[in-house]
């Protein structure tokens, strides 16, 4: 970066480009190249037309795509319902406990994803505490189970991605100028009105970022379904992994990955439009 600061008053016009160069290079090497390779793999079909992988992906795995997005959506909504109030409390009401609470939100990351999901398994065991409690309350049939059910998979997804929902929302709430809320109340707004008209709109960028950070990885996740679900809860991530590693049907696996990416991209664009992010700071 030599020379950017030289000359004092006259800024180098190259500076911004030089600053983003490492990032661009990184994306080229570690994102664009793999994507191109993946695209080649998806159409590299032997003894069949080039679109065979895509044909089979759409033909045989619609139910898995649908299920993955359904689970991811429910998990995102649950994470939002749990995460927003929590982020709100940390941002506006936590006082000197703010840092401690934020630390607690991040704490799960100190152990691996895998161990945390295994811990869920232990909690949800047929003979475990949760099942026992629910049976005692007659909320679970005598032969019923929690583990290897849709509930367990969606619960696992929600739990694993919850911090990704909380942190961006917290950041956007934290940025809100408190005087705006005071001003709203001076203008005879009820606390609820002030929240609806001032705080909520201003925190939408956080909600947007948080739901993307929850929904996208949840839709492609394969650990939760594998560990906490039965075969009837298989998600698309598990299928892709199986096709890549066990069956070694590379065109199908690559095509599935592409279809997943495409649907997610379209979904994100639609979502951005609905929330009107281009007007949001």
């Amino acid at each position: 970066m030599a020379g950017t600061a030289a000359g004092g008053s006259r800024r180098s016009r190259l500076a911004p480009y030089l600053l983003i160069a490492p990032g661009i290079l990184w994306l080229l090497v570690f994102f664009v190249v793999p994507i191109v390779t993946l695209a080649q793999t998806s159409v590299h079909v032997v003894d069949a037309p080039w679109w065979d992988g895509y044909y089979r992906a759409l033909n045989n795995y619609g139910v898995h795509f649908f299920r993955s997005f359904r689970y991811a959506l429910i998990a995102t909504l649950l994470a939002l319902a749990l995460g927003y109030p929590l982020a709100y409390v940390i941002a506006f009401r936590a006082g000197r406990f703010k840092n401690l609470l934020l630390g607690l939100v991040v704490l799960p990351f100190f152990t691996t994803f895998l161990v945390r999901t295994f811990a869920w398994k232990t909690i949800l065991n047929d003979e475990g505490p949760a099942a026992w409690l629910l049976r005692r309350m007659h909320l679970l049939a005598e032969g019923g189970r929690l583990l290897d059910t849709t509930l367990a998979v969606v619960g696992g997804l929600t739990y694993n991605f919850l911090p990704f929902m909380i942190l961006p929302i917290y950041v956007s709430l934290e940025k809100i100028d408190r005087r705006l809320v005071e001003a709203a109340e001076d203008l005879y707004s009820t606390p609820i009105g002030a929240f609806r008209k001032v705080v909520l709109p201003l925190s939408l960028p956080g909600v947007f970022a948080g739901s993307l950070l929850t929904f996208i990885p949840a839709a492609g996740d394969f650990i939760n379904a594998q560990l906490l679900g039965s075969p009837n809860q298989q998600m698309i991530g598990t299928i892709i992994q199986n096709q890549f590693l066990a069956v070694r049907d590379y065109p199908l696996a690559a095509a599935l990955s592409f279809v997943l990416m495409l649907i997610i991209t379209l979904g994100v664009l639609a979502y951005a439009r609905v929330l009107g992010t281009e007007e949001l700071a």
Partner: protein, 400 residues
């Protein structure tokens, strides 16, 4: 194949992680991606130590170097050896051994060594240990060097039932490290009765309390045996029939899960009653849960071996042969089995084991009687096309 620690002192976290690094590559990789917490330095070192694609200056195939003064590099599955064998071998031969437990999954390991071996490059390993079908694939692709029988006098100790296998007639390229049996594991407290047949797992009484293995050959093979078919001669039609039966059971809710060796935890925790199970796992679980039973069904059980092979680009083949010959001594084999409770394929190990671990030697899971050995089947060696077809049929059956 399934690896299970028999040491009851393991705490639960270690147990989780241990399961995480066995059989299923995805778990291993995820754990690694998530920071590789406590996967053991050997595992992590191995991931950095492969130097894939580092050209070995055009190493000639089957160089058969003497390995004088060189280090023998062995890759094996986790928890598959005792602590003494390596140092004692070093002392006996005056060589150095670098023993790495970096094989967690056949498919994953194949992905690691496929490219360099295709290009005749070094994989920085002199002994690798892979399951029958994968060994068959490597032999078919010409990736491994023939074993030099002149340096393998203990070859006479190979037990009869694995002397000649379809994927390696006459054992020219591979020889078992250890073997295991696939049969039925169950918890008598949950079943309420003794089981005898593989078909007991389809008993509607156990609805939702059954697991099967994601290992295609084990699951399809056992179900075929239950249908009165011979897995050593499996045809595509047989596979389809077995898969249809499995699929029906899955859709009907009979089968709760298809797993790697995490079924063992479910069996011990009482989540399931019956599982298609590996003998070594159940033997290992006896320490915490002596009630669990491993059954070789009356129709028969599957036998698998993990086989030692020498990559063709190894420049220390003599040293590798010295190791293979060494572990084919029954006394040395007994020492290994005492720590890793699987089946030894070395004649005379049973007697040697009775001296060092009399209790273990009595277990049919480690020391199967001859009539049980006679009922064990090795799944047919599939060619590339069949393998893809079988896998497709099976993946569809298990809904993966």
């Amino acid at each position: 194949m399934s690896r299970r620690d028999s040491d009851p002192r393991d705490d639960q976290l270690h147990e989780f992680l241990r399961q995480a690094v066995t059989r299923r590559g995805f778990l291993a990789r995820t754990a690694l991606g998530a920071g590789g917490l406590a996967l053991g330095s050997s595992f992590l070192a191995a991931c950095g130590g492969g130097k894939e694609g580092a050209p070995a200056a055009g190493a000639p195939a089957a160089a058969g170097g003497t390995g004088g003064g060189k280090t023998l590099r062995i890759s094996n599955w986790p928890l598959y050896i005792d602590k003494q064998t390596v140092p004692e071998f070093e002392k006996a031969t005056g060589s150095k051994v670098e023993y790495t437990e970096d094989i967690n999954d056949n498919d994953e390991f194949f992905a690691k060594i496929d490219e360099p071996l295709k290009r005749n490059q070094s994989v920085d390993r002199d002994i690798i240990v892979l399951t029958d079908w994968m060994a068959g694939r490597l032999i078919r692709l010409g990736y491994v060097a023939p074993l030099d029988d002149s340096k393998f006098p203990n070859k006479a100790n190979v037990v009869d039932n694995v002397k000649d296998v379809s994927f390696d007639p006459g054992r020219k390229y591979s020889v078992p490290w250890l073997s295991g049996m696939t049969g039925v594991g169950y918890n008598p407290k949950k079943t309420g009765r003794e089981l005898t047949s593989i078909n007991d797992i389809f008993d509607p009484k156990f609805k939702g309390q059954v697991t099967m293995l994601t290992e295609m050959r084990d699951t399809i093979g056992l179900v075929m045996l239950g249908m009165g078919k011979d897995p050593t001669k499996a045809t595509v039609a047989d596979a389809r029939a077995a898969a249809a039966k499995i699929k029906k059971a899955r859709l009907g809710g009979q089968i709760r899960k298809f797993t790697g060796n995490d079924y063992a935890e479910d069996l011990a925790a009482g989540n399931i009653a019956v599982a298609i199970a590996w003998s070594g796992d159940i033997q290992g679980l006896h320490a915490d849960n002596p009630d669990l039973v491993w059954l070789a069904p009356k129709e028969g059980a599957m036998l698998y071996s993990d086989n030692m092979m020498i990559p063709k680009t190894s420049d220390r083949q003599d040293l590798a042969m010295a190791w293979i010959n060494y572990v084919y001594d029954p006394v040395h084999s007994a020492q290994i089995v005492a720590a890793a409770p699987y089946l030894s394929d070395v004649k005379g190990t049973g007697e040697a084991l009775a001296k060092v671990a009399p209790d273990l030697a009595k277990s049919p899971l480690v020391n199967p009687p001859d009539d049980l050995r006679a009922r064990l089947h090795v799944f047919k060696a599939l060619d590339e096309k069949e393998e893809t077809e079988f896998n497709r049929i099976f993946q569809d059956a298990i809904g993966a």
